[in-house]
Structure formats: C-alpha cells, structure tokens
Symmetry: C2
Subunit: 498 residues, 2 copies
C-alpha cells in the first residue's frame, strides 16, 4: 500500500533519499527483497501443487473397480504428492527464515536465490525417482545431493550477507555480536544439509539408515519443538532466555505476508489446473462433430455437460475456500507455529482438489464408482476446511497475540467468522452422509450443491446479522435505554457511520 | 513493507484506529483490496500462460519433417495461444482499472470478483472452441456471452461501489460529481460487452460481422488512442482538458505493482511447467529398468540426459529474463501505456518458452529438425528480450516521469542496465547466426550456452565497473583534483559508504 501512493508522478520525479527503502531501490545495486520473495513464493507454491497432476492424470479403466484402482495405482502417487508438498513447504519455511535475516538484496543475492530456486524446483523430480526406486542407491543419492546443494547455496547467501552487513536485518546489523549470530545461523541452516549428506553417503552402504536421516530433516524441527514444549510444560523446566533479543529459531513465527503469498499461489494454481484439463480434453474434434453430430456443436458439447458442471462446482469451491482463508487472515495479526502447520495441511488438501475433480468428472455412469468419487471429494473438502477451522481455533488460544480485536471472543466479527469457517466442514460432512444413506447419488447433484453454497454465504451474513440484532434486543430489554444506544454507537465502525 | 513492520506483537495487540487502512481491516466487513488483487493477478497470469500447454503437448511424429508439422499442426494452436493471451491481458487491464476506482472491498465485492474470475478463466476454453469451429454460430455465441457476463458483473461491481461510496477512490468520494463519474465509468466498462452482445446476436445471421465486433473489443482502446495521438500530434488539435482532475480513461497508466504481480505470475508458471513435463515423462518405468538396464538406474537416466540439460538451460534463461525484468522495474517509477503494451508482448513470448523447451528436448537425433528447434528457441528468446529492451527505450523517452534518477542518461546504473538488457538479444542473435552458419549444431551445445550466460552477468558487472572507472579516470585527468573527489563522494550511495 505504501508503494501505491508513491505513484504520484510529480513526487516520484524527485524522490528524497529517505524514500529509497520504501521505493525498492537503494542505489549501488542494493534493493529491497519484496518482489524477489513474492516471486519465490509463487514458484514454490506452484511447484508444491503441480505434483498432483501425475496423480490426477493416472488412467483408470472404466471397467476396473474404483476401490481397487485407488489402492493399487493411486496410493503410491498420492503419498509422493503429499511428501513432495511437505518437503517443498519445509524448503519454503527455511527460505522465509533466511530472508528474515537478510532484508536487502543485491544482484549477487538475487542470482544466488534463483539458483536455489532452480534446485528446489528440481527436488520433486528426484523425490519421485526415489519413490519409484526405493531400493536403488542412486535415487536416494540424487535427492540427498540436491538437498546438500540447496543448503550450500543458502550458506553462501548467509556468508555473503554477513560480508555486506548493510544487507542484514537492522537488529543484527546494530548488534556487537555479529560473529555469534553468523555461526548460530549457519549452524541451523547446515543442520539439514549435513543430515542429507550422511544420507547420501549411507545410500551406498545401508539404505534404511539413509531414510532415517532424510526423515530427520523434515521432522527434526517439529521433534525438537515438541521436546522443548514437553520439557517446559510437563517437567516444568524453564528455557534459558536467549542472550540477545533477536532469535533465529526454526520455531519462530513465519511472516504473515509470505504465508498469504504462498497460500494464494496454491489456490491460484489449483483453480487454473481445472480449466487446463477442460481445454486439453473437452474441445470436440472437428471431424467427429461433422460425422457423428451432423455438424451440431451443441449436441457434441452436451456430451461434456457434466464436465462443465464439475468445473464450475470445483472452481466455486476453491474460490470460496480462498475467500474464507482471506477473511480469516484479514483478522490474523501474527501466525504462530501451530497455525503455520495447520495452514500447510489445509493447503495440501486444497492441492488434492484437482484429483477430486478428475474423479467426479470421469465416472459418468451411475455406478458404485460414482459414489466413491463423490466421497473422495467430500473427504478432501472436509479436511481442507476443517484445518482452516483449526487455524482459527489455534489462533483463539492466543487471541491477544494472534487476532485482531474484532475477531476475538465477543468481537463484532467473531460470530460471522465462526459461521464462515464452519460452513464447508458442515456441507461436506452432510454430503458425505448423503452418499452413505442414499444408494445412488449423481455427481451432477453434488456439483449443484457446490454451486449453491455461495448463496449460502450471503444468506449466512443476513442470518448472523438478524441473530445478533435479536440478541441485542434481548439484552436491551434488561438494561436502561441510554447505555444501549451508546454501546451500539461504539460498535459501529467508521465506515458504517459515514 | 509497511505491513511487515506491523508484525510487532505488542503494537498489534492494541492497534490504533488510524492503522486500520494499512493493516487491511476497516471493520464492518470493509477491507483493503491488496490480497484480492494479488490473487486475481495470479489467476489471470496463470490462465494466460497455461494455454501454451496444448501447443507444447502436440504430438509430432519423429519421421515428419518439422517445418511441415509446424505449419500444419502448430500454426492454429499458436495463434489460439497468442489471441488467448491478448484477450486475458485485456480483461486483466480492465480489472486493474476497475479496482483503481474501487479501492476498498467488502465480502459482496470479493464474491462478485471471484465470479468474474471464474468466467474469465473459462474464456480460453470458449475461445479455443471458437477457433476450432470458426463457422459454427454456437462457438461465437458462447464466447461473446462470456464477455457479456463479465461486463455485467463488472457493471454490478461499479454500481455496488457507488452505492457504498466509502469503498471508492478517495478523489471520487470527495467529488461533488459522483453521478457524472458513475455514468462515465459505466459507459467505458459497458463498451466491450455491448460490442460482444452485438457479436452474439449477429452470430446467428452473419458470422463475419460478429468477428468484426469481437476484433473491435480488443483493438478499440488502441485505435482510439492512436486516433487521439494522431489528432494531437499531426493535426495539431489540442485535447480538451477533462472537467475534473480524476480521469478513468483506458489510456491511463496501469499501476506498477499490478504489472509486476502479473509478470511474476507468468514467469513463475513458465518455470514450473518445465519441471512438470520432466516429472510426468522422465521418471523411468520400474519394469523397463529391471529388464532393459538390469536394474541400473543411472543408465536409464542417461537416456534422458539431454532433457535435464534442456531443463536447466531453460530454467536459467527464464530465471535471468525475470531477473532483468526485476532490475528494470526497480528503476521504473511509473509504467506508461506503451511500456504496458511492450511488457505484454514480452510476456507472450516468455509464455512460448515451454514450447521451445519441448521442441529442443524432443528432437534427439542430429537432424534438420534439431537446427530448426534451436532456431525457434532463439527467436522466442530474442523477441522476449528485445521487447524488454523496448520497455527500457520507451521509458527513456519520458525518463523524467518514468525512471528513477539512477537509471536515466548519465545515472550511475544507466550503463549497467543497458548492458543487462542488451545481453539476451545479443546472445540469442549470435546463437541464431551460428545455426545458419554451421550445418550441424547440437541442442546440447545450445543448452550449455544457456547455462553459461549467468556467469556472463557477473563478468558484465565487473566489466561495466572497470569501464566506468577508466572513464572517470580519463575525466579526472582533465579536471582539478578536489572536485573529482567531491563528485565521487556524491556518487557513492549510502550503502556503499557504510
């Protein structure tokens, strides 16, 4: 927002020096990292999500029983997808923390970051190689090597940053203990690569040990956090306070802007993967239309009717889940660790939606498969939305630090936020129950339910308003008149008063 | 950046009222539109770019002569891609302008915007339907109807905005002529949909006229701009100044942030489409490796070696083109109309890179096809980079309004920026000349050239520095000593002094 106001042509023709930092340019090649980080977020969120495509594009024979094919064909691929998503998210979190230390960039850092991005986008490939050949040393070696290279590049970035201290976080820059910070940060950054290096070495001797090391890379921060929590809460041992005020722990909260940017990337790519499938598969063949349908395009398109319905239903679901996420994060002031983990889990299920779409649009006949396709969709949507609800619950536990006053218990947006977040878990659960009760449920009806939901949002708004008004009326009957008026005035936002 | 500083937990626990606008929350459901716009930018840039996939995935027979297949198979598809890109860009530009008028959003506007996005993402499908069946009325009708619906939703957004004036741009909000603005903006927004409506109606009577109308939708703003320019420059007729200071013309500059966000989306999706292809096609089959290569994974991967080389080469090219774009826009203070058009053209060629990658990685044998695949790559890269250079040239013509002082003629970053922007046009031109001179050129060599280029960037930096130092030395010999020292001090940025 600060930048938008700088657009004034007269003012920006002769910008004063103090504007440099805000305007993204500091001279001498030094720049704020804003756009570099936004681009990295976009790359990483897309790479985490597109790995669902090999799963979604798995060919399932129509005569095959769906349940079998899920177990045989999809299980491994889904596991690969989920693990890749987790790995990329871990890499992303490390990237976020790294650029919390280094706040300004120059050309060298920009190029180093791009190199780092290149290796990270290559990770999913090496991982699927490893998953396809779990007992071949070379697969593990390749994956671990990539992790080592990423760590090496990040270490170089840190060293370069401390060599040019004006690029660093202001707090570190002012500190007298720069050397201490440097080694502390390097130690944390090189922990993962060291484990990966050991995994690479052991891949040629004893493969199971390699997997143990690789598992540690992902789960170490969580384990160490849990241990600390256990020690402080259960055993009552207090953590020693760090010597200086700036900490670089993996347990620190992520910056809210980057969580939003990463989430936006995931939602955006999922929404567009749908139309890509439509464009590739559902443009009828010119020859076929001429011969089979006597040139009647509408008749040919009618065959694909359910695909369009599936597309609109899925797009609306993704759009509204984004909308709920957006509303939630408007009221979040700070994302703590647990909220970050829950957000990642929610996004992983969001990324599964193209698979659900593929399944519901593929099984055209009224069959057992159709019911199961709907069930998969319901489960995916349910988990995506219940983890969003989880973010909200986690935020409420520390509401003074994490939430805007409006959204806290008793705040004027609290009830509406609750209703918004509860909508999708309820709808998907209800649809799931329907599939169990009814022996036949058409996917068309399912998609129609999806399309109707947004109107529920609007109805919800009216409903919550009416409910609150009734509630206030009840209270006002038990209080003197004047104070009620004052209270209502205090509740009104400046926007509503104007 | 302003938001990043609000992360301080103590401060954000009790935010003062004046922070509302900066923090993205205004109470009563009113919110700043920042994240909604970023999400829209991501959606639109991805949808504009993924349409290259159907082109890139066109199966070309290895025995077919490449030149023929390009002409027969690819020409239509490439035309569809380019037109879709243009159409989505036009829709995006309209969206940018709309949200320059409406600065704050609430839930209703967010949902309306999502509905608008849904129809826009459906546009590419209806367009490819129209391109496949150019003489069937229904294809044209469907495409035109989508355009009408988009216009209708945008008109509702405008009406809703003027009905809740606190959501509007501050200047309009304060104006006494709100009704005038309302009709003026509605008139401009409904121009396209009206033409599309006529196209939809005429599709059932006289198809060529429909195409004329649809062509007008895209080119009308450009034509009207050219006419105005022609009238004012050549005929010397002066435009009457608008009655009030706020203008909502399609010829106004776009906001720089949204141009950046849209460009980032295109670069990010192009970079990730590459790895997607690798992941889908190049994970060897478990059975094949066991039977054909006796379980030696490395041997199996060696077959795909050139694909990996192609991947790294292409990723580096895209990364560096992003880097150049990033450097350029760091010094751009305002993007005028011509710069916006050039940026779109550059992005359209960037979007063509996955096709170039597909071609160079597909033609393994040393054949005439291989040379032509390299030539296609060179041409794509050349146009992508020369249009970037064009943005710079266009900016220099109005450098006082569009460029930061550092990048203007004589500024300290001017020479280096010039060198950066000139690098890719030169390299791609040189590679193209090589393909004409040599009768055989391996794609591997081409990709190696791509991989070497980033080091050229670093060399360039040193080269420009040395050149500038020599230049200064020459000047200093012809001037008294003291003033040189002063000048050098003035040139040093605060970062370099520390």
């Amino acid at each position: 927002m600060a930048e938008a106001k700088d657009d004034d042509p007269v003012a920006s023709a002769t910008p004063p020096l103090s504007w440099g930092r805000a305007r993204g340019e500091l001279g001498g090649g030094t720049q704020v990292s804003q756009r570099l980080l936004a681009y990295s977020d976009a790359l990483l969120s897309i790479i985490a999500t597109v790995m669902i495509l090999p799963v979604a594009h798995t060919k399932i024979q129509p005569d095959q029983k769906f349940n079998e094919s899920v177990q045989q064909l999809l299980a491994t691929k889904i596991a690969v997808y989920l693990m890749t998503f987790l790995i990329v998210t871990v890499a992303w979190a490390a990237h976020v923390r790294l650029f919390q230390v280094i706040e300004l960039i120059d050309d060298v850092l920009a190029l180093l970051n791009l190199a780092c991005m290149m290796i990270i986008t290559f990770l999913p490939y090496t991982f699927s190689l490893m998953a396809s050949f779990p007992d071949v040393p070379f697969g593990i070696f390749l994956f671990s090597s990539c992790a080592v290279v990423i760590g090496a590049i990040q270490a170089i970035i840190v060293l370069y940053g401390f060599d040019h201290p004006y690029l660093l976080n202001h707090q570190i820059q002012m500190s007298e203990n720069q050397a201490f910070y440097k080694y502390h940060i390097l130690k944390i950054i090189l922990r993962g690569p060291t484990l990966s290096f050991l995994a690479a070495v052991f891949s040629f001797f004893f493969i199971p040990l390699s997997y143990v090391f690789l598992g540690l890379v992902i789960f170490f921060p969580h384990i160490s956090h849990l241990t600390k929590w256990f020690r402080s809460k259960v055993l009552g041992q207090e953590e020693e306070a760090p010597l200086e005020s700036f900490t670089f722990y993996l347990t620190e909260p992520l910056s809210k802007e980057r969580v939003e940017a990463f989430s936006d990337g995931v939602y955006a790519i999922v929404a567009t993967l749908l139309i890509l499938d439509i464009c590739e598969d559902n443009v009828p063949d010119v020859k076929e239309v001429r011969e089979k349908y006597n040139g009647h395009l509408i008749n040919a398109l009618r065959e694909n009717g359910r695909n369009f319905l599936a597309y609109f239903g899925s797009f609306i679901t993704i759009g509204l889940l984004w909308f709920v996420h957006h509303s939630l994060f408007l009221h979040v002031t700070k994302a703590n660790r647990l909220m970050g983990v829950l957000n990642t889990l929610s996004l992983a299920f969001i990324g599964g939606l193209p698979l659900a779409y593929q399944l519901t649009s593929e099984f055209a006949e009224k069959s057992h498969n159709e019911i199961e396709a709907i069930q998969v969709s319901c489960v995916t949507i349910f988990f995506a939305s219940i983890f969003q609800f989880g973010i909200w619950t986690a935020a409420l536990f520390h509401e003074r630090e994490t939430l805007h006053p409006f959204a806290r218990y008793g705040g004027k947006e609290h009830a509406f936020m609750f209703a918004k977040l509860a909508l999708y878990p309820c709808v998907s659960l209800a649809a799931f129950v329907l599939t169990c009760v009814l022996s036949e449920l058409s996917t068309s009806i399912f998609h129609l339910i999806q399309i109707i939901v947004p109107f529920a949002f609007l109805v919800l708004r009216i409903f919550v308003r009416v409910g609150l008004m009734a509630f206030r009326l009840v209270i006002s009957l038990s209080r003197p008149r004047r104070s009620v008026l004052e209270e209502e005035e205090a509740c009104l936002s400046p926007a509503e008063m104007s």
